[in-house]
């Protein structure tokens, strides 16, 4: 029930912020406050708790039927929704002084509504369909061009896999002796998620999207949409545990993960602009997440969640920094000395450079992998160093201030400082993140 209330409230906010779009800052602040309240509410309210509505006793968690579909708020979805809403709150707060588009708050809220619905609706076939709706809707945050078209293309191509797999699994339930159905379903699900996550060789949409679009719009896609894809993948693994038990699972994920990290790191050394560097950094981080997933077990899952949090923080910090320095097209706000610092801190976090927040989870992964695969760890370290090389090559461009632009407001400086301090502070004191 709590999930439905949250989604309903956010939908209301999306409509309200659309009518308030002329007062851009008001609408963004409203969206940020609602998202923060929903995120904290879902994180803190116990799912087993009950409340009374029109004389009926209702549980906060559990399953509810809505429009004939089952809406389930279990522990996994609780983490997912909290992540989604808090990321949304941070993005809207950063967009308040940094994003010039009028539709960021209503479209962003609408996208979050659809993503939240995808996380709680069952069966999973509806989740995938709703995710596609969210992706198509999120395109309205972009400025136009082929980057957005490629992003849309890869997600649409990913649609048939889970839907056909759903049918194959229904068939398998009727004829359990046909194990070939399971193999085909595994392949289809794996292929679709590889497309959606941008794993090598399906990665071109990731840097293409980041290259020319507004950094905060890209950050919403990489953190909220990308995060939802990860939570859905975890849901798939929980719903169909045989997926993870396949003998090829671990080796396939290791190959895909290492491939994505290495290609991202190599391309990261090139000078294709700050936006592309953000894309390559996300590729490296995605590859690391895939490797953590391939390890399986409780430690792998714990690492996975920690990496998702640290990734979101890194992406948001870097995107805010890039917005502030106007490193990509369309920046209309004033210059801030903290922009370059935030962009560098965010990228270093995504590269897993100590003592940033990204290093915390990355260190755990290296320790997990090193006893068995020391060469893999070496490749991962070198690939991460590729991003740092890219940063050093790009840094001079943003360290020279553009004096033609006015000085940014105090709010911009404060938000950037907060994001940067968080990126480093959480790395120095990681117990707030994973050792609870």
């Amino acid at each position: 029930m709590l999930a439905l209330i949250g989604i309903g409230l956010l939908l209301l906010t999306a409509v309200l912020t659309y009518f308030l779009r002329r007062w851009r800052r008001v609408s963004l602040l409203l969206a940020a406050i609602v998202c923060a309240a929903l995120g904290l509410g879902i994180a803190l309210i116990p799912l087993e708790g009950t409340f009374s509505f029109r004389g009926q006793e209702m549980a906060f968690g559990g399953a509810v039927t809505f429009l004939g579909r089952s809406v389930v708020l279990g522990p996994g979805a609780q983490v997912g929704l909290t992540f989604l809403f808090l990321s949304g709150a941070a993005l809207f707060l950063l967009a308040w002084p940094l994003e010039s588009g009028d539709l960021y708050a209503p479209v962003g809220s609408g996208v979050l509504v659809l993503l939240a619905a995808a996380l709680v609706v069952r069966p999973l076939v509806y989740a995938v369909l709703i995710l596609e709706l969210a992706v198509a809707f999120s395109v309205l945050l972009l400025r136009g061009g082929m980057g957005g078209a490629r992003y849309l293309t890869f997600f649409v191509l990913a649609l048939p896999g889970p839907l056909v797999a759903h049918w194959l699994l229904d068939m398998y339930a009727l004829t359990p002796d046909q194990t070939g159905l399971l193999n085909t379903a595994s392949l289809l699900i794996g292929f679709s998620f590889a497309l959606m996550l941008g794993l090598v060789p399906f990665h071109p949409w990731v840097p293409a999207l980041a290259r020319r679009e507004s950094p905060l719009s890209v950050a919403l896609i990489f953190s909220a949409v990308g995060g939802t894809v990860w939570f859905l993948l975890l849901d798939y693994l929980q719903t169909y545990p045989w997926l993870g038990r396949s003998p090829y699972w671990s080796s396939a994920l290791t190959a895909l993960g290492v491939g994505t990290v290495v290609v991202g790191g190599l391309l990261g050394t090139t000078r294709r602009g700050w936006g592309a560097l953000l894309g390559y950094a996300v590729m490296v981080d995605t590859g690391m997440l895939v490797l953590a997933l391939g390890r399986g077990g409780a430690v792998g899952m714990e690492l996975e969640r920690a990496m998702m949090l640290t990734r979101a923080w890194g992406v948001l910090t870097m995107a805010a920094g890039l917005s502030a320095v106007g490193a990509t097209e369309g920046a209309e706000h004033g210059r801030s000395p903290w922009g370059a610092v935030a962009a560098a801190a965010g990228l270093l976090s995504l590269a897993g450079f100590p003592p940033t927040v990204g290093f915390v989870s990355r260190w755990g992964l290296y320790r997990l992998l090193f006893p068995e695969q020391p060469l893999t760890v070496l490749a991962l370290l070198l690939a991460s160093a590729g991003l740092v090389v890219g940063l050093l090559r790009m840094l001079p461009h943003i360290l020279v201030p553009d004096l033609s632009r006015p000085r940014a407001s105090l709010a911009v400086d404060l938000l950037l400082l907060l994001a940067t301090v968080g990126a480093i502070g959480l790395g120095v004191f990681p117990q707030f993140l994973i050792y609870r």
Partner: protein
């Protein structure tokens, strides 16, 4: 309404093989020409004949809804194409002879673009892949001709999306691909909610492609 449904069913019973042939022509039109009007006609024909093939696997009432979705999608594509300048080539730097705002001339129709041989090759390859695929890996729950059409739509959609130079071209490819998948999945999953959500995805993909095109044109 009843008359229309009977009419659709009658066409379906008689016209499955010709429908596939017209589908090939329509897809060829979408794939080979860059002139917006022809591509729109190709898309409209594709939607109509996919609807005809749909009647072999799902209820005619649902087909009617899908045809309506197709009509709205084509309308949106037409408006976008017109607003964007009438031709994909208008936005391509090395494009052809029709620049934004220039008048339509019939003699231009006889001129071939540089990439027409490549596009003809792509269509032939799509035909070959579709035929071989439907023979080697026949799709479950659908007749052979419908399976062939599904493969053809999916492969041509992929080629269109891959060869597109503008967001609208990519959008056309995605819509053709989704049509192929919808034709197949409609037979597997008769749920109205799934059909409705797939229709909604087509709407949103159309609007997303239109938005990306027009935002880029500005």
């Amino acid at each position: 309404m009843g008359t229309f449904l009977e009419w659709v069913e009658r066409i379906s019973a008689l016209a499955a093989p010709p429908a596939v042939v017209v589908l090939v022509v329509a897809l060829g039109l979408v794939l080979m020409t860059r002139r917006w009007l022809f591509r729109l006609v190709g898309m409209a024909l594709t939607y109509f004949f996919v609807g005809v093939l749909h009647t072999q696997v799902i209820r005619p009432e649902v087909v009617l809804v899908k045809l309506l979705i197709g009509a709205v999608v084509c309308l949106a594509l037409g408006v976008t194409g017109q607003a964007a300048g009438g031709s994909e080539a208008a936005n391509v730097s090395n494009g052809g002879d029709q620049e934004k705002g220039t008048r339509f001339r019939w003699r231009n129709l006889l001129r071939w673009r540089e990439d027409v041989p490549l596009r003809i090759g792509a269509l032939l390859a799509a035909l070959l892949i579709a035929y071989a695929g439907s023979l080697r890996f026949p799709l479950p729950q659908v007749p052979f001709l419908v399976g062939l059409a599904c493969y053809l739509l999916a492969v041509v959609g992929l080629f269109l999306a891959g060869m597109a130079e503008t967001p609208l071209g990519a959008g056309l490819g995605l819509l053709v691909f989704l049509n192929g998948f919808d034709l197949f999945f409609g037979a597997l999953e008769p749920s109205l909610v799934v059909a409705g959500l797939l229709g909604l995805i087509q709407f949103l993909v159309t609007f997303a492609a239109a938005y990306l095109t027009l935002a880029r044109a500005e």
